[in-house]
Every structure is written in structure tokens, then in C-alpha cells.
Symmetry: C2
Subunit: 338 residues, 2 copies
Amino acid sequence: MMVKITDVARHAGVSPSTVSYALSGKRPISEETRQRVEESIRRLGYRPHAGARALASSRSNVLALVVPLRAGIHVPVVMQFAVSVVTTARRYDHDVLLLTQEEGEEGLRRVADTALVDALIVMDVQLHDPRLPLLRALERPSVMIGFPASSDGLTCIDLDFKAAGEACVEHLARLGHRVVALVGSPPEVYVRQTAFAQRVVQGFTAAADRNGLASAVHPCEASPAAARAVAEQLLREQPALTGVVVHNEAILEPLVDAFEQLGLRVPGDLSVTAICPDELAESLRVPVTSIALPSAEVGTRAVELLMKKLGGSTAVPEATLLPPRMTERASAARRAIA
Amino acid sequence: MMVKITDVARHAGVSPSTVSYALSGKRPISEETRQRVEESIRRLGYRPHAGARALASSRSNVLALVVPLRAGIHVPVVMQFAVSVVTTARRYDHDVLLLTQEEGEEGLRRVADTALVDALIVMDVQLHDPRLPLLRALERPSVMIGFPASSDGLTCIDLDFKAAGEACVEHLARLGHRVVALVGSPPEVYVRQTAFAQRVVQGFTAAADRNGLASAVHPCEASPAAARAVAEQLLREQPALTGVVVHNEAILEPLVDAFEQLGLRVPGDLSVTAICPDELAESLRVPVTSIALPSAEVGTRAVELLMKKLGGSTAVPEATLLPPRMTERASAARRAIA
DNA sequence: CTGAAAGCGCTAACAT
DNA sequence: ATGTTAGCGCTTTCAG
């Protein structure tokens, strides 16, 4: 039933090792025998046994991907990221094992220690993530999506959220806005100390101060009702408000709707910029000027970093911050002079 | 560095096979030695090498999950399904390898033939899916989510979409509605001949006819503009319309909005029922009476079916149709008597 | 109830 | 440039 390497070797009139080397390219093979081997492989329909390979080479060619399940994370972003990881991994002849956050540290330890996977990608990293010590101790390379408080000895990658927050404000400032607000993630995200949410706040505040803008920050639950409430609160507390930065996929649309229902035109009376997936920004009734959440690129880069590490490269950067890219759309305009 | 079974055996003063059997339970072990073995395992931090295990036992304890990428599929549903598959697989001591549709038949063949996985779960099955012959020929069990034209020799599971379509109509009929319409998936879904979309149409039409209702079916693109257009078309072509069934997650909200903007109150003038994820139905401004898309249950059941097959059970049903469960919410009410 | 030992299919020294 | 062969770490007969 199953064709093995010795079958191929016999059929091609060579030794098993020659077949192995023909497949891996780890030593020179004469063009002629390589042809013969490849032909035999094709004719016999040979497929190397993954387990045997892993055992003999101590490489499974499988990466673990740990995805978050929790509230406040935008599902399409996770999915897009996962697809990008799988696609890129395949380009390097690797497969991807899917783990849920739920499995926790034990899950990571299990797949690493049983040699099921060669390396790990961990999403949704918290400032003081309990998995940090484990990842440091593990004998296998890993890449984290997001930044913990201290990334010493770890490899992290993410959008530069601080720069993204700054870019949104700078853009509004350039358009003449003097009073701005940030509508952010749900409170639990801040409580969890997810770094990226706080970074946005830092960037937002710093840029507002630097530009001499009046500013305020409002976390917001992921419900239309909450969006409405925040909109009302904003107008009450900052009557001169003309610029809003939104960092919360779930309520971007309801928030804009709420503003309009309150009699404010976007962008006529209020300019809006957001940090969100491009597809979301594009799809709204008023397309939103936004900094893209580059999930696909982060996924690709994460895999590439891992491959570099698996290749024994020592020159892998600890921190990779992807620069924000802004796309101007209809939602932000020059402030009307009263 | 790595602790192996012989280390454990030595430490516990038994043979390697005893350790193996203590772990697998495949032969009786005296309580006393089992204790000793377990203690040694714990002390040494032993983890069996996955590859070695797979090689010796010809079981990798890994399942493949193939997820779709194409247009017209609702991402959160896919994600929820995947999470449910992973969670359930873990309960059976299995892991999940993530594959994308993109990899195609070659991807399936690869992971199956290399013995990377023991079994496969395939989502988004088309009526005449090109993967069907392959899945039949594969030496490994598989479960398909969705129904092809002929499921002979394959194991399929899905919501009973025909019954779901019927249930929506029956519900509207019971509420006194006499003229109904189905707003369905984007045209490309029908062109692709995804069975579930057509089943809904069948159920919808059959139930409408059976109840003597006037009915019409309208595919609809996944954009707010398309929703608006369909709403207008509906009112033009079926002025007496009072009941609408929606089978299209993406446009449920815009469609209801469009109706209201056209002056129709939901459910005052128009009753709406939908086939969609519960979370979506709950989250709308007017919560929608709906048949749930039971992604989590489908995922769980799919894994259970595979486990049964892997266990050598021959009594695995070819077709599993999950009965629709309707939750009444605010969007459907008794027809107002003019 | 437990041990000994023969593989599982492949890779990577070590030879030539 | 190619062949020989000793493992990789575990499971599972076969023996007792």
C-alpha cells in the first residue's frame, strides 16, 4: 500500500540516501541520477512519511499558531492573519497547527515538548502575559504578535500603534482641527493591559499635546448603544469637537451613524479617522480615512522571522514595528471656518 | 536534553513497553507499577515524541481542517467552527492542522499521503465538488460540512437548510402572512452550486406553495447598496408583501434599514425572519427572529463522527442533518389586519 | 502482569 | 557523486 524510500531507491537503481538527498538537495546529485530518482518518485507516487521524517531529522516542519478567543477582538482580522500565516508557511514547506488561547501554557508546552511543532506564533500578547517565561524557556523559537512590557529575548512584531495614533492626530491637525477625541477599545481591553490599545492612547495624546490640540480619550464597549452614548457624551463634554479618532472596529459604523443622527455631518461638521482593517473602512456609507490593520503582512512577516530563526540565523530583530499606512477617504476634511 | 521512554523505564525500574502500555492503557498494568511509572514520568517531565509515536503506531493524532476563503462566506462562522473543531479534537487527544481551500486537492492528498493527519474535515462543499473523488479514494476518513449532489460513500453533516427555509415560511404563515419573499445569498453562491443556498430556496418555495402563499426569491449581493436595491424591487413587484426571509448575513442589517427608510416598520408593516448566526440576529436594533447557524455544534459533531470512524466503527451515518432551531425575537409579528 | 526485541520509514554520519 | 548503515523514540508482537 504505502510506497517507501527503499522502493523508490530500488526502482531507480540507487541507494535510499541518494533518494533522500535528491529530495532535500543537501548534497550534490548528478543531473542524470536526479532525473531517474524524480521519475521513480512520480511513477510510484512516493510521499515521504511525515512522522518518520520528523523522527530522523528532528524537524516536523509544522508551526503552531495560537489564536485568541476573547471578547473585544475582531474576528475577521484573526482569520485573515491565520490565512496569511498558513499561506506563507506553505511557501517554506511548512504546515500550521491551530491552537486556541484556551489551551493556555500547557498547550504550548505540549506541542513544543512533544516535537509536534518546530516553532510557535502567539497572538494577542498582553503586557504581562503569563506565557512569556514559558516562551523564553522553550527550546523552540517563537514570534509574538504584539508587544509585552519587556520583550527581552523574545521576537515581537506588530503594527506601530503609537505611530498610528500619532498619524491620525497629525492628519487631523493638518486639516485644521483643534479639538479631538479618541474613541478606543472596550474597557476590558485596557484592563487586560493589551499593549496595543495603550500605545494608541500614548501616540494620540502625545501628538495632540505636541500640536496644542485639546483632547480626550473614551473607551467604548462594542455595542451600538455604547457608541451612541459615547457620541452624546463627546458632544456634551467637548462642544468644540471637530476631529475623532476611532480605534474600535465594532463601533465605527454605529458611532458615525450616531453622530449623524445627532445632527453632525461627516466630514462636514466632524472629521473621522480610524485604525481598522481597510475592508471595513472602505465598506461604510461614508468611507473612512484610516490606518490599515495589516494582518496579512504581520502574518507573513511573522512566518518569515520564524524561518530565519529556524535557519539558525542569529540576526533576527527582537522588535519589528510596522509603520502605519494611511489611506485618505471621505470621512476627514479641512475644518470649516465658522 | 530530551527525556525518552527508556529513561522513564530505567527510572521506574520497568521495561519501555510497560511505560508505553501504562500510557496507552492498551494492556492491564498493576496498580503499583502504574503508580511508579506515573511518578517517574512526572519527575522526569517526560513527553512522548510525536513523530516517533506516529511512525510506530501509524497514527499522528492530528486532523486536517480545510477552511474556505471565498467570497460570500461569513468569516465569524468559519472561525467559530474552527474553534469548535479544535476544542473538540483536544477532548479526543487530537490536534488540528489548518489548511486553506487554496491548497486544493493537492493539499489534501499531501497531508493524507504523508500521514501528517489521520483524518480530514472539509468545509464549504459544492454540489459537484472536485474534491469528492479524491476524498472517496483517500485511505483516510473524512467528514464534509455541507452536502454534494451525491454523498454516496462519504460522510456529510450540516444544518438542514431545507427544513430551515420551510420553518421560516411556516412561522410567517402561522402569523397570518400571505405574501412572502426570500432574500438569499449572492448570485455567485448559486452559480457555484453551493447546496445549502439551493436547499433554502427549495424549502422556502415548497412551504410557501403548501400554505398557499404568494412568494418570490431574490439573490442579493453582500453590499448595503444591493440590499437597498432589493428592498425597493420587492416593494415594487410585491406591493402586498408582509413577510421576508433573509438568508444572507452580510445584508440582514442594511436590508432592514432599507425597509424602514422606505417607510415600512419592522415588524409593524413587515415581518422578518432570517437564517443566520444567533449573535448577529441578537445584535441588530430590531432583534431578528431566526434559525441559528449552529457552527459550533456542526464542528463538534464533525469531530465526533471522525473519531467514530477512526475507531473503526462502521455504523457512521452518511448524512447528518441538524434540525433547525428557531428563536423568536422582535422582528416577526402577526400580520396587521387592514 | 511484564520484558525483550523487532521494526515503523527516514536522515545523516561515515565510508568510498 | 554515491552507497552503507546506525540510529531517531516509540509501539507492538512474541514470549514468558
